[in-house]
């Protein structure tokens, strides 16, 4: 049975090239810094842009949490992201770990001496589950680039259903030659740092990151948001191209608003997907226009972090919440002149603004889309 109880996000953190905690990330973002850098060489690829975490810095920070050296880079990122949240929120018998990732430890396939099974996503989830002492089986959400947003929906839904008391949601993906060469083979990589919604945009810049949030039905006393509506609806159009009509995204947004039962004019801010491919950004503008939310302040954070795949949705929720709490919206980095056919209110500069209602959306390969509406509580 579904209990009619409100579900909250009351704690959040992230690990990115801009910093290994939320405070460092927010400081860098407000200053307009980006993790995207020129990479002369990466495996068989050369002269690309990517947002990459420095191994040395990561290892140094990880030592403060654990001196075990059996963890991969991605595992260290995930553990570092979740660690402060576990310190503040107790893992109980009915807590669950939900992991969002697209490729997990895929780079382990490069080492042909390792058993291939090491790269299984469930193996990765179990390692993190054991590290933090969860008593339940972990859930892996692997739904392409919407995974990070969908994982939050899954947590909210399963807590409302009474399956768990609370959920620790983590999301992470790392840069690998596997993913870089794949996007490159699609000719989907930007020749310069990505420029979402801009007329000059010509593709994605990839990045790596981990993010974590705590979700429960306990009414929080500090900074928190309620999850008031969500939807995850497929385009049924193409496995690798966005729908021209934005049907699935439009329906996901409508589904979230129906749950929340608020009027569209209440919405204060949209954190969109904005990958900076021609078709994705155009599709989003179409869907926002169809939903009549095209005048709401909107940004994409891909210009700061690149596209971090399975991490992106959760990372962008985490940063969106900082905008809500700090009452400051961030400029959509890389955007100068509109390159989408329907005008949308893309943020050119940081802007002070009180935000009560915040919408996060994402779309991905396989025709998937997601939307979640948040309401500021404290």
């Amino acid at each position: 049975m579904i209990a009619n109880k409100t579900i909250y996000i009351s704690d959040a953190n992230c690990v990115t090239p801009l910093g290994f905690d939320l405070e460092a990330n927010w400081k860098a973002l407000v200053k307009g810094q980006s993790g995207i850098q020129f990479q002369e060489k990466y495996g068989n690829l050369s002269s690309i842009y990517a947002s990459i975490i420095e191994d040395e810095k990561l290892n140094e920070s990880f030592l403060k949490v654990s001196n075990e050296n059996t963890f991969t880079k991605l595992e260290k990122m995930l553990i570092l992201a979740l660690h402060p949240i576990i310190n503040k929120n107790k893992v109980t018998e009915k807590s669950v770990l939900i992991l969002s990732t697209t490729k997990g430890n895929i780079s382990l396939l490069e080492n042909q001496e390792l058993p291939i099974e090491e790269a299984q996503l469930a193996t990765l989830a179990k390692k993190i589950n054991t590290f933090f002492g969860f008593k339940t089986e972990p859930i892996v959400v692997s739904n392409a680039c919407v995974s990070g947003v969908l994982a939050v929906s899954v947590a909210k839904r399963m807590i409302q259903f009474g399956a768990y008391e609370n959920a620790f949601v983590i999301a992470g993906d790392e840069i690998s030659e596997f993913v870089l060469s794949g996007f490159n083979s699609f000719q989907a990589m930007s020749s310069l740092p990505c420029a979402p919604y801009d007329e000059s945009r010509n593709g994605v810049t990839l990045g790596e990151a981990a993010a974590a949030v705590y979700i429960s039905s306990e009414k929080p006393t500090e900074n928190a948001v309620a999850i008031i509506g969500d939807g995850a609806i497929n385009d049924a159009n193409h496995i690798s191209g966005p729908s021209r009509t934005g049907e699935g995204l439009f329906k996901s947004i409508e589904s979230a608003f129906k749950d929340a039962n608020i009027s569209k004019d209440k919405l204060d801010y949209i954190s969109a997907h904005g990958t900076a491919t021609l078709y994705n950004d155009e599709m989003e503008a179409t869907a926002f226009s169809r939903s009549h939310i095209d005048t709401v302040a909107i940004n994409s954070l891909k210009g700061y972090y690149g596209h971090t795949l399975g991490a992106s949705g959760l990372l962008e929720i985490v940063i969106g919440l900082q905008s809500v709490y700090n009452e400051e919206l961030l400029a959509s980095k890389g955007f100068k002149n509109s390159g989408v056919s329907i005008p949308i209110a893309i943020l050119k500069e940081n802007r002070k603004k009180e935000i009560k209602y915040f919408l996060k959306t994402a779309s991905g390969f396989g025709g998937c889309n997601t939307a979640i509406l948040f309401e500021k509580i404290n």
Partner: protein, 204 residues
């Protein structure tokens, strides 16, 4: 626990056998998966050229879904059937093939047609496209079949009004080892939608 929802039909594909609602529809000996699934597609009367472009995981999931949906889709109207799929090995079978195409710099041929299948939810997209299911969809990974979670998530979607029916599936494919168990959950039907029944049908 009582439930208002039922499993109205189910399909299993494993060991070169295709079963629909407990009855064997096709059984073959000594063939590998590609040969078997081609025959299975003929047996259920599939005419869909895109099927032959799919990777093995997508073929498996698609055919398991097709065996059920071909008799349950209303071609005149929108079908509100959500898709909730899961497996153990994600897209690892195709991942390994893709990795092989980039591991040797002398022989470096990354292909977008292979790369797109290195995500497990692509099979869900393939099913959505065939039946025009603009509905809730999700793909999960567990180290084995989890009837508890599958039943909880499907029940949530139904009881919350997010969907009218849910097609659930466990679709595992790795190196010629495979198992698909796909079932439709809706109001009508005779098998109660609960975790015991799901587990029993999965094991049968």
């Amino acid at each position: 626990m009582t439930t208002n929802y039922h499993i109205s039909s189910y399909c299993k594909i494993e060991n070169n056998t295709l079963q629909l609602n407990g009855a064997t529809v096709l059984e073959m000996n000594d063939v590998l998966f590609p040969e078997f699934i081609k025959n299975a597609s003929k047996t259920i009367g599939l005419e869909y050229p895109k099927f032959f472009k799919m990777d093995n995981l997508s073929k498996l999931a698609f055919l398991g879904a097709e065996a059920i949906l071909k008799d349950n889709i209303d071609l005149e109207n929108e079908n509100d059937i959500a898709l909730v799929f899961a497996n153990k090995s994600s897209s690892l079978d195709t991942d390994v093939k893709y990795q092989d195409s980039i591991s040797d710099s002398e022989n470096y041929f990354p292909s977008p047609a292979v790369f797109v299948y290195t995500l497990p939810n692509i099979c869900v997209g393939e099913i959505s496209i065939k039946h025009q299911l603009k509905t809730e969809n999700a793909f999960f990974v567990f180290d084995d079949f989890k009837p508890d979670f599958m039943s909880n998530y499907a029940s949530y979607l139904l009881e919350s009004g997010k969907t009218q029916k849910v097609l659930c599936g466990w679709v595992e494919y790795y190196k010629n080892e495979y198992k698909a168990f796909v079932y439709l959950v809706e109001k009508s039907g005779t098998i109660a939608h609960d975790k015991q029944n799901i587990q029993t049908l999965y094991n049968q």
